[in-house]
Amino acid sequence: MSTTTPTRTPSNADGARSDARTAGTAKKSRPRSPGLDKRPGFFVYGILLALFLGGSYPLWWSYVAGSSDNSVLTETWPPLLPGGRFWINIGEVLTTVPFWQALANSLIVSSIITTSVVFFSTLAGYAFAKLRFTGREGLMIFVIATLAVPTQLGIIPQFMLMKELGWTGTLGAVIVPTLVTAFGVFFMRQYLVDVIPDELIEAARVDGANMFRTFWSVALPAARPAMAILGLFTFMTAWTDYLWPLLVAPQNPTLQVALSQLQSAKYVDYSVVLSGAVLATIQVLIIFILAGRQLVSGIMAGAVKG
């Protein structure tokens, strides 16, 4: 339909079209512009600004409360500007929970899980996308079917297993249950099926590369953008996970577990608890300001592909 009017100006074409459409039914045509590329008005920016403030205010408020003493919480209207006690409160946080140790634990756990998930998913996703083998369709259907399976509900045997192995309290117990995900395999397969031409793989094979070499020097470079997105999501999931680390390693806490321990230890002094929450969020916030663009495009690309 658009092919008939590509060169006309929108208002002209619109008038002509709506005339044509309504003349038969004897309705008065209403001249209007499509307005597809029009810049939106202040109202739209007002909504967006309100969303921005609504999204950030709880964080700002935590900082204000976390840099004051508890009396702030009793005031009717919270002050808009932070007080001067942030580092005093942070000192309290650091003596209550092993914050830096927990931060290091979280980094270790999330990095290992991310590396493992991304590597194994790329390997399996490549096989499903580009290699021919008996049972491929059936196994892929199996992967898709398990996407919706809530594996978290297997925590009781997982816990028994960790206890049996004597791993409780170690980071290994936190890491092992999430070393692979069905979502990762599905995601990499969806990406690789379009992005690598079959000819490229054949060319590499003709040149004498063995299968693994082909994977390593043809598929891996092509898979990099999707690996980055998958890595980002996996890291985020591992970083925010709470239930499982709380269950198997409360004495060797990840950052989330340490934060919750701070809450239960200091619930009477909410300014200390909130300063801890702020301290735990600041690092992610800085990374977000630097690399948020990638996170946004990652979420949007993942949505279309997944």
Binding site: M1, T4, P10, A13, D14, A16, R17, S18, D19, G24, R32, P34, L36, D37, R39, P40, L48, L51, F52, P58, L59, W61, T74, W77, P78, F120, L123, A127, F128, F133, T146, A148, V149, P150, T151, L153, G154, I156, P157, P177, V180, A182, W239, T240, Y242, L243, S260, Q263, Y270, L274, G276, T281, F288, G292, V296, I299, M300, G302, A303, V304
Partner: protein
């Protein structure tokens, strides 16, 4: 004889060498063939082996545990069949937890989805500083659920919480966020909504941007306003993504744990003094690790598992039903239009539809374009 019969040594060697090369080649070929045959299985094996060990086996073994009288300390006891399931289905706390889970889920999923669609539509315009606005709605997502729960549980404090302070300053009664059923569900749902709405809006925005622009253009040319375009073009085109978002939200929402767990650290029971906001996973945790009844806890896990899978299937079926009825409506609509078009052309033997004939300004609009349009619209 002796001087002539022995084959010349060099030719023999050459023969042998070619033989060897041939066998070596075939061995290499055989290796290569093995490589081609075995590699795919080697590549998918790590995933399947690990997934079976850490994902599927525990889930299946949960079922085995649920059929036993299994205590955390004494281990496996007697095989008692479905007794744990019977006990749980008669357990008011189980039903209470299910009610709380559903209530929190609905309070978070529905407003969140509506808001996310609206936000996505707002972002799906020719904005200035696009990336900035997209990033800004994602800020809550980078705050971890534990931090969100800490911040909101303080803001929803009953005595000195931010929200009750503001309510009293307007001469309103403070709300007992942590001891009233509905209020606590609302507070917990608001944590989920705050963190996830922007994220889901971005996913829906991606789906909206994938709709080809010229479809909108031609709809606009046909006189469809922005609202009409949104309801009859944008919403149907993003339906697959909506289903994806709904299913993800369902799987996550029915397993909610962190937010209710940390909502009130002083509470005597997990999930409120009178279990006002004890969700099913919290109850599972309570049953397994506080009361130590692994058998009953496993039965709870499997009941929840069945509910989640049923919800997933229901979502799937409903969305398929909607899609098929829509196709039916569209085809009826099209048939009606086609009939009308045929009637006009029959009355007009020149082949020019009456609509176009009456049109003066768009006279150059050919008749060829019109049937095509009728077919498509």
């Amino acid at each position: 004889m002796t001087t002539t019969s022995p084959p010349r040594p060099d030719t023999g060697q050459a023969q042998q060498r070619t033989d060897r090369i041939q066998t070596r080649l075939t061995r290499r070929q055989r290796l290569s063939r093995l490589d081609v045959k075995a590699s795919p299985y080697l590549y998918i094996a790590p995933f399947f082996v690990l997934f079976a060990l850490i994902g599927l086996f525990p889930l299946v073994y949960t079922f085995v545990v649920s059929l036993n009288d299994w205590d955390i300390l004494s281990g496996a006891g007697d095989w008692i069949g479905i007794e744990n399931y019977v006990a749980e289905l008669n357990d008011p706390y189980f039903w209470n937890s299910l009610f709380n889970t559903m209530s929190i889920f609905l309070l978070s999923a529905i407003p969140q989805l509506l808001a996310a669609v609206i936000i996505a539509a707002v972002l799906d315009q020719n904005l200035r500083a696009k990336t900035f606005w997209r990033m800004s709605i994602l800020i809550p997502y980078i705050v971890t659920p534990v931090a969100v729960a800490i911040i909101f549980s303080s803001a929803f404090g009953e005595k000195y919480g931010l929200i009750n302070n503001i309510l009293t300053s307007f001469n309103l009664d403070p709300v007992m966020w942590k001891s009233e059923v509905f209020a606590s569900h609302f507070a917990i749902a608001s944590m989920v909504n705050w963190r996830w709405t922007g994220y889901n809006a971005l996913i829906l925005l991606a789906a909206m941007q994938a709709v080809p622009r010229d479809i909108y253009e031609s709809a606009a040319l046909d006189g469809a306003g922005p609202v009409r375009r949104f309801f009859s073009m944008t919403l149907p085109s993003i339906r697959p993504t909506m289903i994806f978002v709904i299913i993800t939200a369902t799987i996550g929402g029915l397993q909610i744990f962190t937010e209710p767990k940390l909502f009130n650290p002083t509470s005597a029971n997990l999930g409120g003094a009178h279990r006002e906001y004890q969700t099913t996973v919290l109850y599972l945790w309570d049953m397994a690790f506080n009361r130590g009844d692994f058998g009953k806890a496993s039965a709870i896990a499997w009941l929840l598992f069945i509910i989640i899978v049923a919800f997933g299937l229901l979502n799937f079926l409903i969305s398929r039903k909607i899609a098929s009825t829509e196709v039916k409506v569209i085809s009826q609509h099209r048939a009606k239009k086609l009939a009308r078009y045929r009637a006009t052309t029959a009355a007009n033997p020149t082949g020019v539809p009456a609509v176009t004939a009456a049109d003066t300004s768009g006279a150059e609009r050919t008749t060829a374009a019109d049937p095509a349009k009728e077919e498509r619209s």
